[in-house]
Symmetry: C3
Subunit: 208 residues, 3 copies
Amino acid sequence: MESLAADIIDILGTISFAISGVITATKKRMDIFGILIIATVTSVGGGTLRDLLIGKSPVTWILNTSFVYLIFIATVVAIIFRKQLRYVRKSLFLFDTIGIALYTITGVQMGLLIGLAPVICIALGTITACFGGVLRDILCTEIPVIFRKEIYASACIVGGGMFVLLDHFGVNTVINSVISGSLVIVVRTLAVIFKLQLPSIYKKEELV
Amino acid sequence: MESLAADIIDILGTISFAISGVITATKKRMDIFGILIIATVTSVGGGTLRDLLIGKSPVTWILNTSFVYLIFIATVVAIIFRKQLRYVRKSLFLFDTIGIALYTITGVQMGLLIGLAPVICIALGTITACFGGVLRDILCTEIPVIFRKEIYASACIVGGGMFVLLDHFGVNTVINSVISGSLVIVVRTLAVIFKLQLPSIYKKEELV
Amino acid sequence: MESLAADIIDILGTISFAISGVITATKKRMDIFGILIIATVTSVGGGTLRDLLIGKSPVTWILNTSFVYLIFIATVVAIIFRKQLRYVRKSLFLFDTIGIALYTITGVQMGLLIGLAPVICIALGTITACFGGVLRDILCTEIPVIFRKEIYASACIVGGGMFVLLDHFGVNTVINSVISGSLVIVVRTLAVIFKLQLPSIYKKEELV
């Protein structure tokens, strides 16, 4: 039951990341192949970088074709209905936020399992959640959006930190995942509702 | 004899990729060191990414200095004769096309050897053939050309798919390589001659 | 004693790379999180790529949290005093130059230890020293500065070559490190003082 819930969220997260890839790639007028690559990189890029850094090989998606097919289908559907994507923006935001929450927890857990230091585990969680988007932006020659204006990675860092803390105090992994994952979602959602940003280090005249 | 032919094609492919790196890097007015790096990345980048993804370490070129020297010589010669490169454009196209055909087959074969799923093998072949060029364009801060307008990766996917199919039916590897490699070359050549592109998903007014 | 000196230089190099990341990232008006990522990538990027290429896993920084904390502190201090950074430009240049000298020697040594060919060892040293900066520039969507105008990588290649040569003749590693590292520093410093560049392959009218 828990496993089914996790699978569904995993699927929703993957779909959401793929769609965000489609949106960025179509803005750059890429062809179908390019869009497919960007969607795939957005979905699996963060986990791939994490796997490379910790030496897990082959990387996860190489061994799991279901996600490759899922990304393919999500991309094709998103291309067909791309004009309508604006009407489901709120659902997309929800999926995306659930997606980064899940990816964060997965990354932190993998670090803890192989006994890495807390700060490194939090970094791995954040990398898993955020670097698919970073690679997406780099392949589209844009400065990664999460480096500039969103409380996005910060939500992952907060949630990842909570997971490490609760794990340290022996909290059950499932309960911990729910609490820490929810924290990511809450922080990110509040930030978007109240238009919160990280405190700016620039003076007004520097930003013109 | 077959091995000699494969070696010659491998060498021609490497030279061709290195030259395409020189052409892109000189357009960006890079210095000699920069040009050399771009030429190297174009030549070995796809295979390196494939090796990292499947966990082959160290990566291939680290253990094979002949290709490093070959790239170095090709780069120096291409820099010296760069004004004349336009007169050999057709030969370059031929080498490049043979190169991606060979790289595709190599990548697919490595995937099959370690028992990966067909769709992943095709992806590895395409990555081997195409991601050197993607990295070249990213290092030059250009949106990768194969994401935008060429039947390039598509030829690799078709040829890679054919290899997996024939392999499934037990066709001899050498014969299979010749057939599938030729298919890559034919698809790519026809696409360029008849100016074929992937079907556009954009309306005319979106492309202005 | 020697180890202490090496540690101090290592720390100064890391700080210097982190600061160069802060300078580039603030020019792009990144937020605090983005600046921190760029500083980290600049510091650990070259070593990470080297580790991936030779198959050392997990990569070095994953197992050594002191550098993560050091980068964090250096970044925060550099952000606070970023207006004053211009007054310490000469010290920064010194740290940076010592940093690339040290990183070069580390990379070459790791290659020699696992028995790689001389030319590959020199390449690994240069990658260790220079690719943090390349990744920094790519993440900021700039063409990497070392591909365009500085005797930077060339100094690493010369020093790395010297290390391989002296090692071949059985020179003690500590003495070799001092000689070859100093050579990197001297070449780089002379190049900046006398404004040396690699010989240009472009005619004047091409550079307008």
